[in-house]
Protein backbone atom coordinates (compact mmCIF):
# COMPACT_ATOMS: atom_id res chain seq x y z
CA UNK A 1 0.00 0.00 0.00
CA UNK A 2 1.13 3.49 -0.75
CA UNK A 3 -0.22 6.87 0.14
CA UNK A 4 -1.38 9.38 -2.41
CA UNK A 5 -2.35 13.01 -2.15
CA UNK A 6 -5.22 14.52 -4.04
CA UNK A 7 -4.66 18.25 -4.45
CA UNK A 8 -7.99 19.84 -5.26
CA UNK A 9 -8.07 22.94 -7.43
CA UNK A 10 -11.20 24.83 -8.29
CA UNK A 11 -12.72 28.21 -9.01
CA UNK A 12 -14.45 29.20 -5.76
CA UNK A 13 -16.79 31.58 -7.63
CA UNK A 14 -18.60 28.77 -9.39
CA UNK A 15 -20.16 27.48 -6.17
CA UNK A 16 -22.15 30.67 -5.95
CA UNK A 17 -24.26 29.61 -8.90
CA UNK A 18 -25.61 26.57 -7.06
CA UNK A 19 -29.02 26.64 -5.43
CA UNK A 20 -29.34 25.73 -1.73
CA UNK A 21 -30.60 22.31 -2.77
CA UNK A 22 -27.67 21.73 -5.11
CA UNK A 23 -25.26 22.93 -2.44
CA UNK A 24 -26.65 20.39 -0.02
CA UNK A 25 -26.26 17.64 -2.63
CA UNK A 26 -22.65 18.67 -3.29
CA UNK A 27 -21.97 18.79 0.43
CA UNK A 28 -23.34 15.28 0.92
CA UNK A 29 -21.20 13.94 -1.92
CA UNK A 30 -18.02 15.49 -0.51
CA UNK A 31 -18.91 14.25 2.98
CA UNK A 32 -19.42 10.78 1.59
CA UNK A 33 -15.91 10.77 0.22
CA UNK A 34 -14.35 11.78 3.51
CA UNK A 35 -15.97 8.73 5.09
CA UNK A 36 -14.49 6.28 2.60
CA UNK A 37 -12.26 3.72 4.33
CA UNK A 38 -9.28 4.57 2.11
CA UNK A 39 -9.38 8.28 3.03
CA UNK A 40 -6.72 8.91 5.67
CA UNK A 41 -6.88 12.66 6.01
CA UNK A 42 -8.49 15.65 4.42
CA UNK A 43 -8.19 19.37 4.93
CA UNK A 44 -9.83 22.39 3.45
CA UNK A 45 -7.60 25.45 2.97
CA UNK A 46 -8.84 28.87 4.01
CA UNK A 47 -10.25 30.84 1.08
CA UNK A 48 -7.60 33.55 1.19
CA UNK A 49 -4.62 33.95 -1.12
CA UNK A 50 -2.10 32.89 1.55
CA UNK A 51 1.55 34.03 1.51
CA UNK A 52 4.46 33.28 -0.77
CA UNK A 53 7.98 33.35 0.66
CA UNK A 54 10.88 33.76 -1.71
CA UNK A 55 14.60 33.90 -1.38
CA UNK A 56 16.50 36.84 -2.86
CA UNK A 57 20.07 35.90 -2.12
CA UNK A 58 20.58 36.65 1.56
CA UNK A 59 17.20 38.30 2.00
CA UNK A 60 13.83 36.66 1.84
CA UNK A 61 10.60 38.30 0.81
CA UNK A 62 7.07 37.58 1.90
CA UNK A 63 4.12 38.51 -0.25
CA UNK A 64 0.45 37.77 -0.59
CA UNK A 65 -0.09 35.21 -3.24
CA UNK A 66 0.27 33.06 -5.23
CA UNK A 67 -2.37 34.89 -7.38
CA UNK A 68 -2.04 32.55 -10.28
CA UNK A 69 -3.17 33.55 -13.75
CA UNK A 70 -5.96 31.02 -13.75
CA UNK A 71 -9.07 31.32 -11.63
CA UNK A 72 -8.45 27.90 -10.13
CA UNK A 73 -6.85 27.83 -6.73
CA UNK A 74 -5.68 25.04 -4.47
CA UNK A 75 -8.61 24.67 -2.11
CA UNK A 76 -7.87 21.51 -0.17
CA UNK A 77 -6.33 18.10 -0.13
CA UNK A 78 -7.03 14.49 0.72
CA UNK A 79 -4.59 11.72 1.59
CA UNK A 80 -5.67 8.25 0.53
CA UNK A 81 -4.40 4.70 0.61
CA UNK A 82 -4.03 2.91 -2.70
CA UNK A 83 -1.92 0.09 -4.14
CA UNK A 84 -0.46 2.09 -7.00
CA UNK A 85 -1.12 5.00 -9.34
CA UNK A 86 -3.67 3.02 -11.34
CA UNK A 87 -5.68 2.22 -8.24
CA UNK A 88 -5.37 5.78 -6.95
CA UNK A 89 -6.52 7.22 -10.27
CA UNK A 90 -9.47 4.87 -10.28
CA UNK A 91 -10.52 6.10 -6.84
CA UNK A 92 -9.86 9.77 -7.61
CA UNK A 93 -11.98 9.60 -10.76
CA UNK A 94 -14.97 8.99 -8.49
CA UNK A 95 -14.33 12.13 -6.48
CA UNK A 96 -17.23 14.64 -6.70
CA UNK A 97 -14.72 17.43 -7.30
CA UNK A 98 -14.55 16.40 -10.96
CA UNK A 99 -18.32 16.35 -11.26
CA UNK A 100 -18.33 19.95 -10.04
CA UNK A 101 -15.77 21.04 -12.61
CA UNK A 102 -12.67 21.09 -10.43
CA UNK A 103 -9.20 19.73 -11.15
CA UNK A 104 -7.40 17.10 -9.11
CA UNK A 105 -3.63 16.78 -9.01
CA UNK A 106 -2.68 13.32 -7.83
CA UNK A 107 0.74 12.82 -6.24
CA UNK A 108 2.30 9.82 -4.60
CA UNK A 109 3.71 10.34 -1.12
CA UNK A 110 7.35 9.37 -1.25
CA UNK A 111 8.47 6.38 0.74
CA UNK A 112 11.33 3.93 0.41
Amino acid sequence: MAQFMLLLYDNPEKWKTLSPDEMQKALEKYMGWVKQPFTLDSKRLAPDPGRVLRSHGKRSSVSDGPYSETKEVLGGYYTIDAADYDAAVKLALEHPHLEYGGTIELRKVYSE
Binding site: W15, T17, L18, P20, D21, Q24, L27, Y30, M31, S42
Partner: protein
Protein backbone atom coordinates in the same frame (compact mmCIF):
# COMPACT_ATOMS: atom_id res chain seq x y z
CA UNK B 1 -38.33 21.41 14.08
CA UNK B 2 -35.68 19.01 15.24
CA UNK B 3 -32.72 18.01 13.16
CA UNK B 4 -30.90 15.91 15.70
CA UNK B 5 -29.87 13.75 12.79
CA UNK B 6 -27.11 11.21 12.81
CA UNK B 7 -23.84 12.98 12.22
CA UNK B 8 -23.23 13.44 8.54
CA UNK B 9 -26.80 12.81 7.50
CA UNK B 10 -28.80 15.89 6.63
CA UNK B 11 -32.55 15.94 6.41
CA UNK B 12 -33.84 16.19 2.89
CA UNK B 13 -33.99 19.72 1.48
CA UNK B 14 -32.59 21.12 4.74
CA UNK B 15 -30.71 23.87 2.89
CA UNK B 16 -33.64 24.85 0.71
CA UNK B 17 -35.93 25.02 3.73
CA UNK B 18 -33.47 26.88 5.92
CA UNK B 19 -32.71 29.25 3.11
CA UNK B 20 -36.34 30.35 2.95
CA UNK B 21 -36.77 30.87 6.65
CA UNK B 22 -33.42 32.61 7.14
CA UNK B 23 -34.01 35.00 4.23
CA UNK B 24 -37.40 35.85 5.74
CA UNK B 25 -35.85 36.30 9.17
CA UNK B 26 -33.13 38.67 7.94
CA UNK B 27 -35.58 40.57 5.79
CA UNK B 28 -37.66 41.28 8.86
CA UNK B 29 -34.58 42.50 10.75
CA UNK B 30 -33.00 44.48 7.90
CA UNK B 31 -36.14 45.68 6.20
CA UNK B 32 -37.06 44.94 2.61
CA UNK B 33 -34.20 47.06 1.23
CA UNK B 34 -31.96 44.48 2.88
CA UNK B 35 -33.39 41.59 0.91
CA UNK B 36 -30.26 41.27 -1.21
CA UNK B 37 -28.03 41.32 1.87
CA UNK B 38 -30.28 38.71 3.46
CA UNK B 39 -29.94 36.44 0.43
CA UNK B 40 -26.18 36.95 0.30
CA UNK B 41 -25.71 36.19 3.99
CA UNK B 42 -27.69 32.98 3.69
CA UNK B 43 -25.81 31.89 0.57
CA UNK B 44 -22.46 32.64 2.18
CA UNK B 45 -23.36 30.58 5.27
CA UNK B 46 -24.18 27.63 3.03
CA UNK B 47 -20.96 28.05 1.04
CA UNK B 48 -19.00 27.96 4.28
CA UNK B 49 -20.83 24.81 5.33
CA UNK B 50 -19.86 23.26 2.03
CA UNK B 51 -16.23 24.14 2.66
CA UNK B 52 -15.96 23.03 6.24
CA UNK B 53 -18.43 20.26 7.04
CA UNK B 54 -16.88 17.53 4.88
CA UNK B 55 -13.58 17.96 6.70
CA UNK B 56 -14.64 18.97 10.20
CA UNK B 57 -17.77 16.88 10.34
CA UNK B 58 -21.39 17.96 10.44
CA UNK B 59 -22.11 20.18 13.43
CA UNK B 60 -24.44 18.67 16.06
CA UNK B 61 -27.15 21.09 15.03
CA UNK B 62 -26.75 22.06 11.36
CA UNK B 63 -29.62 24.57 11.52
CA UNK B 64 -28.07 26.43 14.44
CA UNK B 65 -24.70 26.47 12.70
CA UNK B 66 -26.13 27.98 9.51
CA UNK B 67 -28.16 30.45 11.55
CA UNK B 68 -25.13 31.65 13.51
CA UNK B 69 -22.79 31.92 10.53
CA UNK B 70 -25.42 33.75 8.46
CA UNK B 71 -25.81 36.25 11.31
CA UNK B 72 -22.08 36.87 11.38
CA UNK B 73 -22.00 37.44 7.64
CA UNK B 74 -25.01 39.76 7.82
CA UNK B 75 -23.41 41.82 10.60
CA UNK B 76 -20.26 42.06 8.54
CA UNK B 77 -22.16 43.18 5.43
CA UNK B 78 -24.19 45.78 7.31
CA UNK B 79 -21.02 47.22 8.81
CA UNK B 80 -19.40 47.41 5.37
CA UNK B 81 -22.44 49.00 3.70
CA UNK B 82 -22.96 51.59 6.45
CA UNK B 83 -24.24 54.15 3.97
CA UNK B 84 -27.07 52.13 2.56
CA UNK B 85 -28.57 51.23 5.92
CA UNK B 86 -28.49 54.38 7.99
CA UNK B 87 -29.27 52.94 11.39
CA UNK B 88 -26.19 50.72 11.28
CA UNK B 89 -25.56 50.41 15.02
CA UNK B 90 -29.19 49.72 15.76
CA UNK B 91 -29.29 47.00 13.11
CA UNK B 92 -26.06 45.44 14.31
CA UNK B 93 -27.43 45.42 17.83
CA UNK B 94 -30.58 43.74 16.62
CA UNK B 95 -28.64 41.18 14.57
CA UNK B 96 -26.27 40.43 17.45
CA UNK B 97 -29.17 39.88 19.82
CA UNK B 98 -30.86 37.59 17.34
CA UNK B 99 -27.55 35.77 16.67
CA UNK B 100 -27.48 34.80 20.34
CA UNK B 101 -30.73 32.91 19.94
CA UNK B 102 -30.81 29.28 19.05
CA UNK B 103 -33.27 28.41 16.26
CA UNK B 104 -34.85 25.87 18.60
CA UNK B 105 -35.17 28.14 21.64
CA UNK B 106 -38.73 28.58 22.91
CA UNK B 107 -40.67 30.94 20.70
CA UNK B 108 -38.00 31.13 18.00
CA UNK B 109 -39.41 28.47 15.63
CA UNK B 110 -42.80 30.21 15.86
CA UNK B 111 -41.20 33.56 15.06
CA UNK B 112 -39.34 32.03 12.10
CA UNK B 113 -42.53 30.45 10.78
CA UNK B 114 -44.27 33.78 11.17
CA UNK B 115 -41.47 35.55 9.29
CA UNK B 116 -41.88 33.10 6.42
CA UNK B 117 -45.59 33.70 6.36
CA UNK B 118 -45.09 37.48 6.34
CA UNK B 119 -42.59 37.06 3.54
CA UNK B 120 -45.11 35.28 1.29
CA UNK B 121 -47.61 38.01 2.01
CA UNK B 122 -45.06 40.63 0.99
CA UNK B 123 -44.19 38.69 -2.18
CA UNK B 124 -47.88 38.70 -3.12
CA UNK B 125 -48.28 42.46 -2.78
CA UNK B 126 -50.69 43.77 -5.46
CA UNK B 127 -48.03 46.15 -6.82
CA UNK B 128 -45.96 43.16 -7.87
CA UNK B 129 -47.10 41.45 -11.06
CA UNK B 130 -48.48 37.94 -10.73
CA UNK B 131 -45.66 36.21 -12.57
CA UNK B 132 -43.14 38.07 -10.42
CA UNK B 133 -45.06 37.16 -7.25
CA UNK B 134 -44.63 33.51 -8.16
CA UNK B 135 -40.92 33.83 -8.93
CA UNK B 136 -40.23 35.91 -5.84
CA UNK B 137 -42.09 33.53 -3.52
CA UNK B 138 -40.16 30.57 -4.87
CA UNK B 139 -36.84 32.36 -4.66
CA UNK B 140 -37.12 33.91 -1.22
CA UNK B 141 -39.48 31.68 0.74
CA UNK B 142 -38.98 28.48 -1.22
CA UNK B 143 -35.18 28.61 -1.46
CA UNK B 144 -35.26 27.81 -5.19
CA UNK B 145 -32.56 29.24 -7.47
CA UNK B 146 -33.18 31.18 -10.68
CA UNK B 147 -32.28 28.19 -12.90
CA UNK B 148 -34.54 25.90 -10.86
CA UNK B 149 -37.48 28.28 -11.21
CA UNK B 150 -36.76 28.66 -14.91
CA UNK B 151 -36.68 24.90 -15.34
CA UNK B 152 -39.96 24.46 -13.51
CA UNK B 153 -41.74 26.90 -15.80
CA UNK B 154 -39.86 26.00 -18.98
CA UNK B 155 -38.55 29.56 -19.28
CA UNK B 156 -35.03 30.84 -19.62
CA UNK B 157 -32.97 32.08 -16.68
CA UNK B 158 -32.91 35.67 -17.94
CA UNK B 159 -36.71 35.92 -17.90
CA UNK B 160 -36.90 34.78 -14.30
CA UNK B 161 -33.98 36.99 -13.27
CA UNK B 162 -35.74 39.97 -14.83
CA UNK B 163 -38.97 39.25 -12.98
CA UNK B 164 -37.05 39.12 -9.72
CA UNK B 165 -35.28 42.40 -10.43
CA UNK B 166 -38.61 44.06 -11.21
CA UNK B 167 -40.21 42.66 -8.07
CA UNK B 168 -37.34 43.82 -5.87
CA UNK B 169 -37.50 47.26 -7.44
CA UNK B 170 -41.18 47.43 -6.55
CA UNK B 171 -40.43 46.36 -3.00
CA UNK B 172 -37.87 49.15 -2.60
CA UNK B 173 -39.96 51.73 -4.39
CA UNK B 174 -43.08 51.05 -2.36
CA UNK B 175 -41.08 50.62 0.84
CA UNK B 176 -42.83 47.32 1.47
CA UNK B 177 -42.25 45.72 4.83
CA UNK B 178 -43.03 42.37 6.34
CA UNK B 179 -45.92 43.92 8.21
CA UNK B 180 -49.08 42.21 7.13
CA UNK B 181 -52.11 44.22 6.05
CA UNK B 182 -55.22 44.29 8.20
CA UNK B 183 -58.97 44.28 7.53
CA UNK B 184 -60.24 43.92 3.99
CA UNK B 185 -56.71 44.44 2.67
CA UNK B 186 -55.75 41.27 4.49
CA UNK B 187 -58.61 39.33 2.91
CA UNK B 188 -57.55 40.39 -0.58
CA UNK B 189 -53.91 39.63 0.12
CA UNK B 190 -54.79 36.20 1.45
CA UNK B 191 -56.61 35.50 -1.80
CA UNK B 192 -53.50 36.53 -3.74
CA UNK B 193 -51.34 34.26 -1.57
CA UNK B 194 -53.69 31.33 -2.05
CA UNK B 195 -53.80 31.79 -5.79
CA UNK B 196 -49.99 31.83 -5.97
CA UNK B 197 -49.87 28.62 -3.94
CA UNK B 198 -52.59 27.09 -6.15
CA UNK B 199 -50.69 28.12 -9.25
CA UNK B 200 -47.47 26.53 -7.95
CA UNK B 201 -49.26 23.30 -7.25
CA UNK B 202 -50.95 23.12 -10.63
CA UNK B 203 -47.75 23.94 -12.47
CA UNK B 204 -46.06 21.14 -10.64
CA UNK B 205 -48.92 18.75 -11.16
CA UNK B 206 -49.94 19.56 -14.71
CA UNK B 207 -47.19 17.80 -16.60
CA UNK B 208 -44.43 15.33 -16.16
CA UNK B 209 -41.47 17.14 -17.61
CA UNK B 210 -39.30 14.17 -18.42
CA UNK B 211 -37.40 12.81 -15.42
CA UNK B 212 -37.16 16.25 -13.95
CA UNK B 213 -38.08 16.15 -10.31
CA UNK B 214 -38.35 19.90 -10.06
CA UNK B 215 -42.07 19.85 -10.71
CA UNK B 216 -42.61 17.36 -7.94
CA UNK B 217 -40.74 19.81 -5.71
CA UNK B 218 -43.14 22.56 -6.76
CA UNK B 219 -46.10 20.50 -5.56
CA UNK B 220 -44.38 19.81 -2.28
CA UNK B 221 -43.47 23.45 -1.79
CA UNK B 222 -47.04 24.55 -2.57
CA UNK B 223 -48.36 22.08 -0.01
CA UNK B 224 -45.83 23.26 2.56
CA UNK B 225 -46.79 26.90 2.06
CA UNK B 226 -50.48 26.04 2.19
CA UNK B 227 -49.97 24.23 5.48
CA UNK B 228 -48.01 27.19 6.81
CA UNK B 229 -51.01 29.46 6.17
CA UNK B 230 -53.44 26.82 7.45
CA UNK B 231 -51.57 26.50 10.73
CA UNK B 232 -51.56 30.27 11.31
CA UNK B 233 -54.20 32.60 12.68
CA UNK B 234 -55.14 33.35 9.06
CA UNK B 235 -56.55 29.89 8.50
CA UNK B 236 -60.08 29.86 7.11
CA UNK B 237 -62.24 27.14 5.51
CA UNK B 238 -61.00 28.29 2.12
CA UNK B 239 -57.37 27.80 3.17
CA UNK B 240 -58.17 24.32 4.43
CA UNK B 241 -59.95 23.54 1.16
CA UNK B 242 -56.83 24.47 -0.80
CA UNK B 243 -54.60 22.35 1.43
CA UNK B 244 -57.08 19.46 1.17
CA UNK B 245 -57.11 19.59 -2.60
CA UNK B 246 -53.32 19.67 -2.82
CA UNK B 247 -52.82 16.87 -0.31
CA UNK B 248 -55.53 14.60 -1.77
CA UNK B 249 -54.47 15.12 -5.34
CA UNK B 250 -50.76 15.12 -4.48
CA UNK B 251 -51.20 11.72 -2.78
CA UNK B 252 -51.58 10.22 -6.26
CA UNK B 253 -48.23 11.51 -7.52
CA UNK B 254 -46.21 8.39 -6.62
CA UNK B 255 -48.65 6.15 -8.54
CA UNK B 256 -48.80 8.31 -11.64
CA UNK B 257 -45.68 6.87 -13.17
CA UNK B 258 -44.74 3.17 -13.06
CA UNK B 259 -41.28 1.63 -12.67
CA UNK B 260 -40.70 1.91 -16.39
CA UNK B 261 -41.39 5.65 -16.20
CA UNK B 262 -44.66 5.30 -18.10
CA UNK B 263 -47.76 7.34 -17.41
CA UNK B 264 -50.41 5.40 -15.51
CA UNK B 265 -53.97 6.64 -15.82
CA UNK B 266 -56.16 7.01 -12.78
CA UNK B 267 -58.23 3.87 -13.54
CA UNK B 268 -55.11 1.76 -13.73
CA UNK B 269 -53.26 3.23 -10.79
CA UNK B 270 -52.09 0.96 -8.03
CA UNK B 271 -53.92 2.58 -5.16
CA UNK B 272 -51.59 1.04 -2.63
CA UNK B 273 -49.01 3.46 -4.02
CA UNK B 274 -51.13 6.47 -3.12
CA UNK B 275 -49.46 8.32 -0.30
CA UNK B 276 -51.44 7.33 2.78
CA UNK B 277 -50.09 10.15 4.97
CA UNK B 278 -50.96 12.71 2.35
CA UNK B 279 -54.50 11.30 2.02
CA UNK B 280 -54.99 11.46 5.79
CA UNK B 281 -53.70 15.03 5.82
CA UNK B 282 -56.03 15.91 2.97
CA UNK B 283 -59.13 14.43 4.58
CA UNK B 284 -58.27 16.21 7.82
CA UNK B 285 -58.20 19.58 6.07
CA UNK B 286 -61.24 18.64 4.01
CA UNK B 287 -63.23 18.24 7.22
CA UNK B 288 -62.06 21.65 8.40
CA UNK B 289 -62.92 23.21 5.04
CA UNK B 290 -66.63 22.55 5.28
CA UNK B 291 -66.98 24.59 8.47
CA UNK B 292 -68.09 27.87 6.92
CA UNK B 293 -70.76 28.94 4.48
CA UNK B 294 -68.38 30.04 1.78
CA UNK B 295 -67.84 27.75 -1.17
CA UNK B 296 -64.71 28.55 -3.17
CA UNK B 297 -63.34 26.83 -6.22
CA UNK B 298 -60.86 25.18 -3.89
CA UNK B 299 -63.78 23.57 -2.08
CA UNK B 300 -65.14 22.09 -5.27
CA UNK B 301 -61.77 20.87 -6.46
CA UNK B 302 -61.08 19.40 -3.04
CA UNK B 303 -64.43 17.60 -3.22
CA UNK B 304 -63.49 16.14 -6.60
CA UNK B 305 -60.11 15.01 -5.28
CA UNK B 306 -61.80 13.56 -2.18
CA UNK B 307 -64.27 11.61 -4.32
CA UNK B 308 -61.41 10.03 -6.21
CA UNK B 309 -59.49 9.40 -3.01
CA UNK B 310 -62.48 7.66 -1.44
CA UNK B 311 -62.78 5.12 -4.19
CA UNK B 312 -61.05 1.97 -3.17
CA UNK B 313 -60.83 0.88 -6.80
CA UNK B 314 -61.04 2.90 -9.97
CA UNK B 315 -64.29 1.21 -10.94
CA UNK B 316 -66.06 2.27 -7.77
CA UNK B 317 -65.52 5.97 -8.39
CA UNK B 318 -68.69 8.00 -8.01
CA UNK B 319 -68.61 9.57 -11.48
CA UNK B 320 -72.10 11.13 -11.34
CA UNK B 321 -70.99 13.07 -8.26
CA UNK B 322 -67.76 14.10 -9.97
CA UNK B 323 -69.70 15.30 -13.02
CA UNK B 324 -71.98 17.31 -10.76
CA UNK B 325 -68.95 18.87 -9.07
CA UNK B 326 -67.43 19.75 -12.45
CA UNK B 327 -70.70 21.44 -13.41
CA UNK B 328 -70.34 23.57 -10.28
CA UNK B 329 -66.68 24.26 -11.00
CA UNK B 330 -67.51 25.32 -14.54
CA UNK B 331 -69.93 27.86 -13.11
CA UNK B 332 -67.04 29.30 -11.06
CA UNK B 333 -64.47 29.11 -13.78
CA UNK B 334 -65.89 28.66 -17.29
CA UNK B 335 -62.43 27.98 -18.71
CA UNK B 336 -61.73 25.50 -21.52
CA UNK B 337 -59.43 23.48 -19.27
CA UNK B 338 -62.21 22.91 -16.73
CA UNK B 339 -64.59 22.07 -19.59
CA UNK B 340 -62.09 19.52 -20.84
CA UNK B 341 -61.87 17.85 -17.45
CA UNK B 342 -65.64 17.87 -17.18
CA UNK B 343 -65.88 16.06 -20.51
CA UNK B 344 -63.95 13.15 -19.04
CA UNK B 345 -66.53 12.77 -16.28
CA UNK B 346 -69.28 13.21 -18.87
CA UNK B 347 -67.91 10.29 -20.88
CA UNK B 348 -67.95 8.12 -17.77
CA UNK B 349 -71.55 8.99 -16.95
CA UNK B 350 -73.25 9.51 -20.31
CA UNK B 351 -70.91 7.78 -22.71
CA UNK B 352 -68.27 8.81 -25.27
CA UNK B 353 -70.66 10.29 -27.84
CA UNK B 354 -71.95 12.93 -25.42
CA UNK B 355 -68.40 13.80 -24.33
CA UNK B 356 -67.22 14.08 -27.93
CA UNK B 357 -70.04 16.49 -28.60
CA UNK B 358 -69.08 18.52 -25.52
CA UNK B 359 -65.46 18.94 -26.55
CA UNK B 360 -66.14 19.88 -30.21
CA UNK B 361 -66.36 23.63 -29.44
CA UNK B 362 -63.15 23.45 -27.39
CA UNK B 363 -61.16 22.79 -30.53
CA UNK B 364 -61.74 26.40 -31.50
CA UNK B 365 -60.13 27.62 -28.27
CA UNK B 366 -56.75 29.19 -29.03
CA UNK B 367 -55.49 28.14 -25.56
CA UNK B 368 -56.22 24.51 -26.27
CA UNK B 369 -55.20 24.32 -29.89
CA UNK B 370 -51.71 23.15 -29.05
CA UNK B 371 -52.80 21.24 -25.96
CA UNK B 372 -52.12 17.55 -26.37
CA UNK B 373 -54.67 16.58 -23.71
CA UNK B 374 -57.62 17.81 -25.73
CA UNK B 375 -56.47 15.73 -28.68
CA UNK B 376 -55.64 12.77 -26.45
CA UNK B 377 -59.15 12.80 -25.03
CA UNK B 378 -60.73 13.27 -28.44
CA UNK B 379 -58.72 10.35 -29.83
CA UNK B 380 -59.75 8.17 -26.93
CA UNK B 381 -63.43 8.98 -27.34
CA UNK B 382 -63.25 8.24 -31.07
CA UNK B 383 -61.53 4.98 -30.30
CA UNK B 384 -64.27 4.03 -27.85
CA UNK B 385 -66.83 4.81 -30.55
CA UNK B 386 -65.05 2.44 -32.94
CA UNK B 387 -63.86 5.25 -35.24
CA UNK B 388 -60.24 4.02 -35.37
CA UNK B 389 -58.97 5.91 -38.46
CA UNK B 390 -60.13 9.26 -37.04
CA UNK B 391 -58.73 8.32 -33.64
CA UNK B 392 -55.36 7.52 -35.19
CA UNK B 393 -55.24 10.88 -36.99
CA UNK B 394 -56.06 12.64 -33.73
CA UNK B 395 -53.38 10.83 -31.73
CA UNK B 396 -50.88 11.69 -34.45
CA UNK B 397 -51.77 15.38 -34.10
CA UNK B 398 -51.46 15.07 -30.33
CA UNK B 399 -47.93 13.74 -30.77
CA UNK B 400 -47.03 16.97 -32.53
CA UNK B 401 -47.93 19.04 -29.46
CA UNK B 402 -45.51 19.85 -26.69
CA UNK B 403 -45.52 17.09 -24.12
CA UNK B 404 -43.14 15.11 -21.98
CA UNK B 405 -41.50 11.83 -22.92
CA UNK B 406 -43.82 9.64 -20.77
CA UNK B 407 -46.82 11.41 -22.29
CA UNK B 408 -45.43 10.81 -25.75
CA UNK B 409 -45.00 7.10 -25.05
CA UNK B 410 -48.57 7.00 -23.80
CA UNK B 411 -49.83 8.55 -27.03
CA UNK B 412 -47.81 6.08 -29.09
CA UNK B 413 -49.38 3.17 -27.22
CA UNK B 414 -52.80 4.67 -27.95
CA UNK B 415 -51.90 5.03 -31.61
CA UNK B 416 -50.91 1.37 -31.68
CA UNK B 417 -54.34 0.49 -30.21
CA UNK B 418 -55.99 2.20 -33.18
CA UNK B 419 -54.25 -0.10 -35.60
CA UNK B 420 -55.40 -3.31 -33.99
CA UNK B 421 -58.46 -4.96 -35.44
CA UNK B 422 -59.87 -5.47 -31.97
CA UNK B 423 -58.71 -2.41 -30.10
CA UNK B 424 -58.17 -2.83 -26.39
CA UNK B 425 -60.46 -0.23 -24.98
CA UNK B 426 -59.06 1.59 -22.10
CA UNK B 427 -61.32 4.33 -20.97
CA UNK B 428 -59.64 7.65 -20.54
CA UNK B 429 -60.38 9.08 -17.16
CA UNK B 430 -59.41 12.29 -15.48
CA UNK B 431 -56.20 10.38 -15.26
CA UNK B 432 -55.18 12.09 -18.45
CA UNK B 433 -55.19 15.53 -16.97
CA UNK B 434 -55.66 14.88 -13.31
CA UNK B 435 -53.97 11.49 -13.00
Amino acid sequence: MSTAAEPGILIEHLFRRQSGRMVAHFTRLLGPSGLDVAEEAVQEAMLRALQSWPHQGTPPNPEAWLFRVAHNVAIDRVRRNQMSFGKTEELIGELSRSAGEHPNDPGVPEQLGDDELSMIFMCCHPDISTDAQVALSLKTVGGFSVPEIARAFLLDDATIAQRLVRAKRQIRKQGLTLERPTGPGMERRLDAVLSVIYFLFNEGYAALAGDDLIRFDLCREALRLGRLVASSSLASPKVHALVALMALQGARLPARVNEAGDLVLLDDQDRSRWDEASLALGFGHFDLSIAGNEISRYHIEAAIAATHARSARGKATDWPLILQLYDQLLAFDPSPVVALNRAVALAKVHGPAKALEAIEPLQEEPRLREYYLLLALRGQLLLELGREPEAATTFRSALECRCSEPERRFLRRKLADCNQSAPSYRALTPGASRA
